[in-house]
Subunit: 346 residues, 2 copies
């Protein structure tokens, strides 16, 4: 019996690299698209070799979002830039209360990138998309000279069908809402940091990157009145809470001791003087729900495989602020940072 | 009376540059988005500060497409990377017979890019979108270190409503179809070349970049049975004809003498030993229509401001080839190139 990985036709010569001509619109680019992208993405809409994809989602409201990915390095424990680009954009749709349906894929490749790495990334995108039946339906490839990029940058845009009966957005957050976090925070940032710095920990650090749609769907099906959802990506939990507080014009109060951080993540953060509350996650979100729906929401998330906890509540004042009760019981402002602790984390 | 340009608030400190922190998810990124992108893009969907945009195009089939733009330099005669990114993606939707409706904007910025340049690009995107009522509804910004990018790379994805009654795609091309080109070819590539090389010509070289939707709409409203449309971007007319011939499994026969090339474009090409038939256009397309609808199609395009000409026809054989009758009456194959004559033209 062959191993599954060996049954595929070899898509390209071993050891090949991306050249400028691969981004040219000529024969080499067509071959690259055929051998790497069409080989990885099976959607018939892509095979039509036309300029765009015709969607036919037999209707209702659609959500549309985009994200570029410049993470360094492109392979990290628990994923790579390809799976991340799919999870990231699909999760943004989920945060709109929308089922992710269609994805585009734009690549900016640096001359010299190994084709093997590119093929791995493309397969990883395809696998991540298949997990939730998401279709990658249109794409584009550009190549830039050596020294004008960094291996591979990806952009994904996504279209989804809005399932939520009520709008899910910051201006629906109300004083009294419970703030639920779907699981432990900071693992994505810590995992990328560990591979950048060549660190080994006793407990392995692995990115939390995953699809949030199954958890969001469960939440919506529970009929909890979800006011807002926000994934905890760049800038982590602290930044997400600040964004919501500012847009809603309300105060988010959180208890530090209730915020789950795994020991390996806490250890890595301590070693580098970083705060896990600002560390990016790629598979965690905050949900704002009225108190009376809180138990229902927690149960639904748990059934969908999350490890949700209530970390705080929404208050009317002080407007636009996040107040954190620290482990020693002191209340302080949890501000937005000027910059990111770790650049190029997604 | 103030000049319109002077009534806007100054969006940022003069002479500022992009820093890594602008791509961080923190306060500086929020300020950048507010001062540059929200200032330039007025769509209320963007102001909701949510992860994605809810579309409500009250239905039918939708088209979805994406394109990344890495053109060098980012400013060129007749446009810049911003207008190009809007025209390019909107034109891909038009080529699907779809009215461009919604656009996403993903930026990958290099540390050190001037904020003035970025603001100019953003305004240019807004102006190009407004021309045809296209809404930029969602976006994302990343920053990479100096030497890991080249000023600015853009990705736009677009969603449009399909207006065409019949599908418009390569497999509907038939032997006997007339091949119409919507105007003179190669000006975009020649204009970019001229600024790269610091050339001055007696007649100014200017990119042909523009929206094709008004011309396509006129064509569809003429009720000509349009079989296929293809814009003549990377790789130019020759590559577009090859793509159609190969996908349709038919032969495209073209007359070199009927293909319009402006003297300045021909001159620039001659100086650099380049073939105008492979030079990128960003505001030209080829239309494949049955002979009996050809006059109707030409009239509609002319009324919409194009300068259409019939440059050839579709034959059954030799399959997958483009045959060119040269100016001296010799027939030869017009192949696809391995690479691009001019890299980073879009």
């Amino acid at each position: 019996m062959k191993e599954p990985g060996l049954t595929c036709p070899v898509p390209h010569e071993p050891g090949g690299t991306v050249t400028l001509a691969h981004g040219s619109g000529g024969r080499l680019m067509h071959r690259l698209i055929r051998d790497i992208f069409l080989a990885a993405f099976p959607d018939p809409a892509l095979r039509e070799a036309h300029d765009g994809a015709i969607l036919d989602p037999s209707q209702d409201r659609l959500a549309f979002t985009t994200d570029s990915f410049v993470i360094r390095p492109i392979f990290f424990p628990g994923g790579d830039i390809g799976s991340l680009a799919v999870h990231g954009t699909a999760n943004d749709l989920a945060m709109c209360g929308a089922q992710p349906l269609y994805l585009s894929c734009g690549c900016i490749l640096e001359e010299g990138l190994s084709l093997e790495a590119l093929a791995t990334v493309a397969r990883s995108m395809a696998a991540a998309a298949a997990e939730i039946g998401l279709r990658i339906v249109t794409g584009d490839t550009k190549v830039v000279e050596r020294g004008k990029g960094d291996g591979i940058y990806l952009n994904t845009a996504g279209v989804g069908r809005v399932i939520a009966a009520q709008p899910i957005r910051p201006d629906r957050v109300r004083p009294g809402d419970a703030v639920i976090v779907s699981g432990d925070v900071g693992a994505h940032g810590a995992a990328v940091l560990s591979v950048r710095e060549g660190l080994k920990f006793e407990t392995e650090l692995k990115s939390d990157a995953c699809h949030l749609w199954p958890q969001v769907r469960a939440l919506l099906e529970s009929e909890a009145d979800v006011h807002c959802l926000r994934d905890l990506t760049r800038g982590g939990l602290a930044t997400a809470l600040n964004e919501i507080a500012q847009t809603a014009g309300l105060c988010v109060r959180a208890d530090e001791s209730s915020i789950p951080v795994r020991p390996a993540v806490a250890g890595a953060c301590e070693m580098f003087g970083l705060d896990p509350l600002y560390m990016a996650c790629e598979g965690r979100f905050a949900a704002f729900v009225p108190q009376h729906d809180c138990e229902r929401a927690l149960a639904a998330l748990q059934d969908a495989g999350a490890a949700p906890v209530v970390i705080g509540e929404v208050l009317a004042e002080p407007r636009g602020e996040v107040r954190l009760t620290t482990r020693i019981g002191v209340e302080r402002a949890l501000d937005m940072l000027s910059g990111e602790q770790l650049p190029r984390i997604c």
